[in-house]
């Protein structure tokens, strides 16, 4: 006799990824480092921003980068030139990093250095405004980039990414004089879906706004470090 049964699970669809993400975060907390997940569409300027920020902050913080890229290691090579350890994570078909890929990147990183000596770990996600927003990797803060060349409607078209971000950087503002977009309008659209996140206009080319962005970062590092537990978590 078939007995129809129903089990109520109430589980998150992405529970498997979330468990791994929480595991990653436990490591980050034990190492007392801040992990940032940097996301944007392709070409919004993640790598250029990282080049500037890594160079500017190298004196203040010990840093490393996990660099997600679908097929190449081009970005990783650009960042290594700055003198910060970079572990490339080639995602193949996948259009986002997930927590297991970041865990694999951490294993490679640990062959090169002791993460407990780091203050800041950057995860540069695959260029994509859609799915990276749904796959946590264990980060403490999500940073989304939106370049002025993408148009002011993107926060309304890809709202989940901008809703989830703790900080939105409006990039390439040195190009504003040449474009029919208004910075105020871009910012207003971000605020429509995320009224309280930090919104910082920057240009990696001119350097404008980078100081404000680095101040935000320093505040996040300071906020995370004292809360971390003292005990180290084993791998």
């Amino acid at each position: 006799m078939h007995m129809p049964l129903e089990d109520t699970l109430g589980l998150n669809l992405l529970a498997a990824n979330q468990h791994q993400a929480e595991h990653n975060r436990e490591h980050f907390d034990a190492w007392r480092l801040l992990c940032l997940n940097v996301m944007s569409s392709p070409g919004a300027g993640k790598t250029s921003l990282l080049e500037r920020s890594l160079a500017a902050l190298a004196g203040a913080y010990a840093m490393a980068v996990l660099e997600g890229d679908m097929t190449t290691q081009l970005d990783a090579e650009r960042l290594e030139a700055v003198g910060v350890p970079v572990v490339p994570i080639t995602t193949g078909r996948s259009c986002h990093l997930d927590a297991a890929m970041v865990s694999g990147g951490l294993k490679l990183l640990r062959q090169r250095l002791d993460p407990a000596e780091l203050d800041l770990l950057w995860v540069e996600n695959v260029g994509n405004l859609v799915c990276p927003a749904e796959f946590e990797v264990g980060e403490h803060r999500k940073v989304a980039l939106l370049s002025v060349t993408e148009g002011d409607d993107k926060p309304l078209k890809y709202p989940v990414m901008f809703r989830e971000a703790h900080c939105v950087l409006i990039t390439k503002i040195d190009l504003l004089p040449y474009l029919p977009v208004q910075l105020e309008r871009i910012e207003a659209h971000i605020r429509q879906v995320n009224p309280h996140c930090a919104v910082i206009p920057v240009s990696a080319t001119s350097g404008e706004g980078l100081e404000a962005w680095h101040q935000w970062l320093k505040a996040q590092v300071a906020a995370i470090a004292p809360a971390a537990p003292a005990a180290l978590v084993s791998a």
Binding site: G10, S94, C95, E134, Q192
Partner: protein, 131 residues
């Protein structure tokens, strides 16, 4: 195609659920999901990848049923709930406020599983009171 990765996560959860019933193997007829409209998931894509992924597995034939959950916001000024509309920049129609509080629409939830055990004697259920 992140629905492929979402399906992989879903299958991992289903395999864990199956282990709870060992040594019996539940025959699943339906898996019920709740998917909010303010997520990056396309329900049709998810159903398609599910159908492909479960072929020739213990879940072969199990149907993925998706209950869409609409995006509902709550106006921070007057507390009224509303349906945020991208054409209106998600603002509340009552007080023209930005979308601050989301009441529903972010769900990505495995709600429940409908299943049975086969007629094989080893799999027979103990006498149970019907629900």
């Amino acid at each position: 195609m992140h629905e492929v990765d979402m399906t992989r996560c879903l299958l991992l959860s289903m395999n864990e659920w199956k282990q709870q019933h060992e040594p019996r193997i539940p025959r699943v007829s339906q898996v019920h999901l709740q998917v909010g409209s303010f997520t990056c998931v396309e329900p049709d894509q998810l159903v398609f990848t599910w159908r492909v992924a479960v072929q020739n597995t213990w879940l072969d034939g199990a149907e993925l049923v998706i209950e869409p959950v609409p995006l509902v916001g709550r106006c921070v000024r007057c507390n009224a709930t509303y349906s945020p509309d991208p054409e209106q920049a998600y603002r509340s129609p009552c007080c023209q406020q930005p979308m601050e509080e989301i009441v529903s629409g972010r769900e990505l939830r495995i709600r429940s599983v409908d299943y049975a055990f086969s007629d094989h004697p080893a799999d027979a259920l103990p006498a149970a009171t019907p629900a």
